[in-house]
């Protein structure tokens, strides 16, 4: 029903576009147009689609809650809690849809009939109202077209509002995500002290599991210490950057300054393929190939190496990040003006001197930016760690042991059975928001560093 209605509105809008344009051509024969004929079309189409779609959207948002209020009115005298009322409403809806399998009481049956009836009324009312609006707004717009009013300005204003609504949507979604994280995290911090979370050195949420009732507050105290996770996250990111920065940067410099056109043409896409490999593939590459390889080498040297080591995960993550750094730094180096290179070569500088003393400093803001971007990518990477570095949150600085990261722990917490409202589940939100703060912080630093250098070099 809704689909047909929306399709109808859109088709009508298209028709009115062509109609408006045609009308403009007719007007053109007797008087000067106020805008190009297509603006007449846009004007009609906008007036046709926008009011009807807005009313349709508002209706769809508010209709369910209004119907719900009507249904639940009959239950107000029973002194029910909010949850019980919700349950009854769900039952009524299921009964109306014919999917209810429990006991049917008379009262429930009555409500279901009322629900069906209400829905029917609502639907007819919706169609009637939207048709009325369509007729009203179209005839209003058509009259302006006939009078040959100004057409360009209203269309431009309309477009401005469309763009505004789109950006508003993006902003609201962001805010919504942040707040949903924040609220759950606050509830978590009601159960666990924020101090214990930030400075605690033991992460073992499974310990707090109890069959019924609340977990022991003493146990909670050192089950949710996030220090090992933060340490693990930065440790693995550090290993990754140790691999990615040198290789990525040097290959970026090679590609932009040294490689001939032939080499560049093939090498650059091949490096960029690395960025297209799904992280889960990197994950099993790390877990099944690199991990055992590191273990074997370590054992051969007489070292104690875990099969799931931070080193394996970090190294593979580094490989994954190479194309970021190499491709971005290649771009910024290529963007350094040719006349700076000429100036340096004309002084008798060699290629490497030119790269080191002129090109690299000039490209530095972009390079720093790309590295910080890569760091936040490494901090947020999940799959490789889950698969290759184990899930036990050890507090260690030994790259040969297994360790875990914030993202990997969020995965562990949220897969399998969980209960909402349980501190264990809520801890995922607390971890999520701390990770968000960390990456936000990194991005802010990145931007300010880039800005500072840019001021210096421009």
């Amino acid at each position: 029903m809704n689909l047909i209605l929306v399709t109808f509105i859109i088709l009508l809008a298209f028709t009115s576009y062509y109609f408006g344009r045609k009308k403009a051509l007719v007007i053109q024969s007797s008087q000067r147009l106020t805008a190009l004929p297509k603006f007449y079309g846009y004007y009609l189409a906008a007036w046709c689609a926008a009011p009807a779609l807005i009313i349709f959207a508002l209706w769809s948002v508010f209709e369910p809650s209004i119907v719900k209020t009507f249904i639940l009115q009959d239950y107000t005298d029973q002194n029910l809690t909010k949850n019980e009322l919700q349950l009854i409403y769900t039952k009524v809806k299921a009964l109306a849809a014919g999917t209810y399998t429990g006991n049917i009481t008379n009262f429930l049956d009555e409500s279901a009939n009322k629900y069906i009836q209400l829905k029917g009324i609502a639907n007819s009312a919706k169609v009637a109202i939207i048709l009325a609006i369509l007729i009203f707004s179209l005839s209003f717009a058509y009259r302006s077209v006939q009078k040959n009013d100004r057409m360009r300005e209203p269309v431009e204003i309309f477009l401005k509002w469309v763009l505004f609504v789109a950006s508003l949507g993006a902003v609201l979604v962001t805010i919504g995500i942040v707040f949903s994280l924040l609220f759950e995290a606050i509830r978590f911090f009601q159960a666990v002290k924020i101090f214990d979370f930030i400075f605690g050195t033991h992460w073992y949420p499974a310990k707090t599991f109890v069959r019924d009732g609340q977990p022991d507050p003493e146990l909670m105290k050192d089950a949710f210490g996030a220090v090992p996770l933060f340490a693990g996250t930065f440790f693995i990111a550090f290993i990754a950057m140790c691999v990615a920065i040198p290789i990525g940067l040097l290959s970026g410099i090679y590609l932009s300054e040294y490689a001939g056109r032939g080499v560049r043409k093939y090498a650059k896409p091949i490096i960029e393929i690395l960025a297209g490999i799904p992280t889960v593939v990197y994950g099993f590459f790390a877990a099944l190939t690199v991990g055992p390889f590191v273990k074997e080498i370590g054992n051969a040297m007489g070292l104690e190496v875990s099969a799931e080591s931070a080193l394996a995960a970090g190294a593979v993550m580094g490989v994954m990040i190479i194309p970021f750094i190499s491709s971005l730094s290649d771009d910024v180096i290529t963007a350094v003006p040719q006349n700076l290179r000429d100036g340096s070569y004309a002084m008798g500088a060699t290629k490497s001197e030119t790269v080191k003393k002129v090109i690299f400093p000039a490209a530095l803001p972009g390079i720093v930016g790309s590295i910080l971007l890569a760091v936040s990518r490494a901090v947020g990477e999940t799959m490789i760690v889950v698969m290759a570095s184990g899930l036990a949150a050890n507090l260690t600085m030994n790259p040969l042991e297994s360790t875990s990261t914030i993202t990997a722990q969020i995965v562990v917490i949220l897969i399998g059975d969980q209960q909402f409202g349980d501190p264990k589940t809520q801890s995922a939100f607390a971890l999520g928001i701390s990770l968000f703060i960390v990456t936000l912080f990194l991005n802010v630093i990145a931007l300010s560093v880039v800005k500072k250098y840019r001021e210096k070099y421009e």
């Binding site: 001939g260 056109r261 003006p337 006349n339 700076l340 290179r341 000429d342 100036g343 340096s344 070569y345 004309a346 002084m347 008798g348 500088a349 060699t350 001197e353 003393k357 002129v358 400093p361 000039a362 210096k456 070099y457 421009e458």
Partner: protein
């Protein structure tokens, strides 16, 4: 005294020939101006003299270019040494995004000319003085070179070029991005410099060529049409094309 002597220089960009049999004799401690309409090959010729065409992958140079009897167009030539001896100033001022001091010290550093900090300070000061920039920047040597005005930037580039005491300086339309006052300052500077250095300047402005140069060469469509003393080229050229160009009938 001849400083640079070229014989039958041909330059190709891919399959397109840009210069045809250019033979010219550039005298020492004089200013030689190269004039001609856009795309006539004068800049290409200039870039042969310090091998800057090496930077362009598809460019190929044939013929003989001798400086003090040293063949420049040879695989065996040490390009780094050559460019230490033949400096260049470009059309658009291109100071490095470094401090004024570092800009001038760039050449002496990469060629290991200065032995101590004092010596380097001395080189920077003399170069800036020769480039007539010292008085304007002496109190702010640690400011970024790109923050100067266009004319100052170009004089900074000249200071950079003379910091390694080259024997020849090539100038590729050095005043085309500058206002008349800055242009006058640069021309005055060229006049001073020619006491010590051989200068080859490419210019679009015929009045500039007439003002600063002793010899002038006229290029057209990749050929050197006429070469001779500036007075003669401007007052009494042998070639009809030169006459037409000088009097503004084309180009």
């Amino acid at each position: 005294m001849s400083k640079i002597k070229t014989e039958n220089v041909n330059v190709y960009y891919g399959s397109k020939q840009a210069l045809f049999d250019v033979s010219v004799d550039i005298a020492e401690k004089e200013v030689t101006a190269l004039i001609g309409p856009s795309g006539c090959g004068k800049s290409t010729f200039l870039r042969c003299l310090n091998r800057m065409n090496d930077v362009i992958e598809i460019c190929r140079v044939e013929g003989s270019i001798k400086m003090d009897n040293l063949e420049l167009n040879s695989r065996k030539l040490d390009v780094v040494r050559l460019r230490e001896n033949v400096g260049m100033v470009f059309q658009k001022p291109n100071p490095f995004p470094k401090t004024i001091y570092e800009n001038v010290a760039y050449g002496p550093t990469i060629h290991g000319i200065a032995q101590s900090k004092e010596e380097m300070d001395q080189i920077v000061e003399t170069s800036l003085k020769k480039a007539a920039l010292w008085n304007e920047v002496k109190d702010r040597l640690d400011e970024i070179g790109t923050g100067l005005s266009g004319g100052q930037q170009q004089r900074l580039c000249i200071a950079r070029a003379i910091s390694v005491s080259p024997e020849v300086i090539l100038m590729d339309e050095p005043c085309s991005a500058l206002d008349p006052i800055a242009t006058a300052q640069i021309e005055e500077l060229i006049d001073d410099l020619k006491k010590e250095v051989t200068i080859v300047i490419v210019t679009h402005s015929m009045s500039q060529a007439a003002r600063v140069s002793q010899k002038t060469g006229f290029f057209h469509l990749g050929k050197l049409i006429e070469f001779g003393p500036t007075d003669k080229i401007f007052k009494n050229p042998d070639n009809q094309q030169t006459q037409d160009y000088i009097t503004g009938r084309f180009g």
